[in-house]
Subunit: 371 residues, 2 copies
């Protein structure tokens, strides 16, 4: 066995998956069409509806979370139109980049990395740009562990004439995401984070309000693969036989199905509470080691934790030490935070309190050997 097979994966995704997921993945390849397959994909989509807490239509795209966000923004807005983007991290920057790659004008509500987005500032921006067609924000900003208030923003936007687009890549399945109650028109996620699958799939929940914009007569010219109309066309016209426009990876879908069944069996609330306890326990331990969490305790992210590296220590050293000496893999920071913070993902269904304790004692060892 290689070293990597012994390493405990505690990065902010992809996550370590349950052995049952790997077993489902490694069954012989099956076709991405036919009645059995259609039933299976329907089961996946119905389970996803429960996790998204929605009655909206689900599309299970291939690719990645960013691909699903590209599809959400690029399908609903046309070149030259305007979007308001709340941006307080690396994946906020990505939302901006995705919009710009679709020729969409961005009115940016910038917030310091590490601080939550301010709902009022977004509403003010909307007043200043009443022609904006959508507001987009990241829910769990993986680069900083900040959880943005998508509930508050969503409720404020519900009666407004804009779409609400949410990047729920690192939150869905681990942090409440109430698509219908909070009026999220396009909610995009990915298979390899809290859902507990392997990378390669990206579900999107699409509201009827979103379809109204997507269906405007003047057609978008933002490509084929990320056009939600293409995905809907296959779901509708070929749905009883070949429900996706492409050869979706049946093995990866099989893995996701098992992961979703395990999530629903455990109970979404229970799973979230379990993650929350891991987060609390990790924070408690970090405080004991005098390693300051990057976000305040009252703004707990149940699936991700970041802490400052001790003064004078590049967080990369911690990452390397934990990997080499303790076979635990965590992450450094992203962007300008790269050397300043380290990040721990505890969004895997197989991570438990013992793993958190092992991580904390590895951090203690690091401190010991550097002082």
């Amino acid at each position: 066995m290689k070293k990597s097979e012994f390493t405990k994966l505690m990065i902010p995704g992809p996550v370590e998956v349950d052995p049952q997921v790997l077993a489902a993945m490694s069954r012989p390849v099956e076709p991405h069409y036919g009645p059995e397959w259609v039933n299976k994909l329907e089961r996946v989509n119905n389970l996803l509806k429960q996790v998204f807490q929605t009655q909206n239509e689900i599309f299970l795209m291939a690719g990645s979370g960013s691909c699903a966000i590209d599809a959400s923004i690029g399908s609903s807005l046309q070149t030259g139109e305007k979007i308001i983007i709340g941006n307080n991290g690396f994946f906020g920057d990505r939302l901006v980049s995705i919009a710009e790659h679709n020729g969409i004008e961005v009115a940016e509500v910038k917030q310091e990395w590490g601080k939550k987005l301010d709902t009022q500032k977004i509403l003010n921006m909307l007043k200043a740009h009443p022609d904006a067609k959508a507001v987009a924000v990241v829910h769990s900003e993986t680069s900083t562990t900040v959880l943005n208030p998508i509930d508050e923003i969503g409720l404020q936007l519900k009666d407004k004439n804009v779409l609400f687009i949410v990047d729920a890549v690192s939150s869905l399945g681990g942090v409440p995401v109430q698509v219908d109650d909070w009026g999220i028109d396009l909610c995009a996620s990915a298979s390899q984070k809290c859902l507990g699958g392997i990378p390669g799939l990206a579900p999107i929940a699409v509201s009827s309000k979103a379809w109204q914009l997507i269906d405007r007569t003047h057609e978008n010219k933002h490509g084929w693969f990320t056009d939600l109309r293409v995905w809907r066309k296959y779901a509708q016209e070929w749905g009883s036989w070949h429900p996706t426009p492409i050869t979706i990876s049946s093995n990866v879908v099989n893995g996701l199905l098992v992961a979703l069944e395990m999530l629903i069996d455990e109970g979404i609330e229970k799973r979230m509470e379990r993650f929350r306890r891991l987060a609390l326990s990790l924070r408690k331990g970090l405080h004991e080691l005098e390693l300051k969490p990057f976000t305040p305790d009252e703004e707990l992210n149940p699936v991700l934790t970041a802490a400052y590296s001790p003064a004078g220590v590049d967080s990369g050293e911690i990452v390397t030490y934990l990997n080499e000496a303790h076979h635990i893999q965590i992450s450094g920071g992203l962007g300008f935070l790269k050397p300043k913070i380290f990040r721990v993902g505890h969004m895997s269904p197989v991570i438990n309190l013992k793993d958190i304790q092992n991580l904390l004692s590895a951090l203690k060892d690091f401190q010991r050997q550097t002082t």
Copy 2:
């Protein structure tokens, strides 16, 4: 075990993969970054260069073959520009659709389904549309099993001021594709056909001539995920640590790596010859059963064979019978050919002569029980 696990998969992709590929796939999830991962992805890309027979840069995209084609067309041509598309099947239609979804004007060289594209007609179309920026064709038209003469077309276009874009989804690894010698500027394929991997990945070989068009000052607005500039930016700027813009599916890459190593170990020529012998043997058997192949014997497709359904028999009946009575899964036709032909894929590295014989005796059984 479920029925599907006993079924011999002989559809035109995805293919049955070697158990070693499944084993590689089912190893614990590993991160899509870091020095070990960078080395691994480089190995994959170097093996792909051998298969593509190219020195051009390779990008291993996530998604599907059609996604890679969308990226090829959408990245290099701008909205309002013109492309010439040779179209003689379902996937030729898809090329047209992909171009149109990018707002690109299509000059179509149509050819009857089942007949090869005529190089001269493509050159005539280029004379009539000297402003065309590219010519795109499908190599192995999976819907009809026709192999289009991409060698001939490529050699004719080499000194012309157009890009040559090839859909090599169902040919690469099973039929010679000489990217450099034939002047293919953008050659897109997929993991789950002749390469012997599972679905989810789509390699593209990109020439420097293609980059000249991609890099024109006026930026394309065809989205983010399928923009080759985004993929190059990560390969160049983040290449030593995080070479892809997204979380690529490490498990699927691990499977593809094993599949590619097996292909190179066997020898590309030998593998192709092996497929060719299967194709010849299948055709011989079909003639003996008086089941007429859909394309002439002298236009053999080594990885795919289609035959007419007997008069008065919907090919769907054959497909169902083989599946239920013999646990062999083949395909019907696509589009208007749906009930008229059945299609057999023999592009899996694990398919052998015995499987072809079993298929032929199953077809014989079908004939027996229907007469």
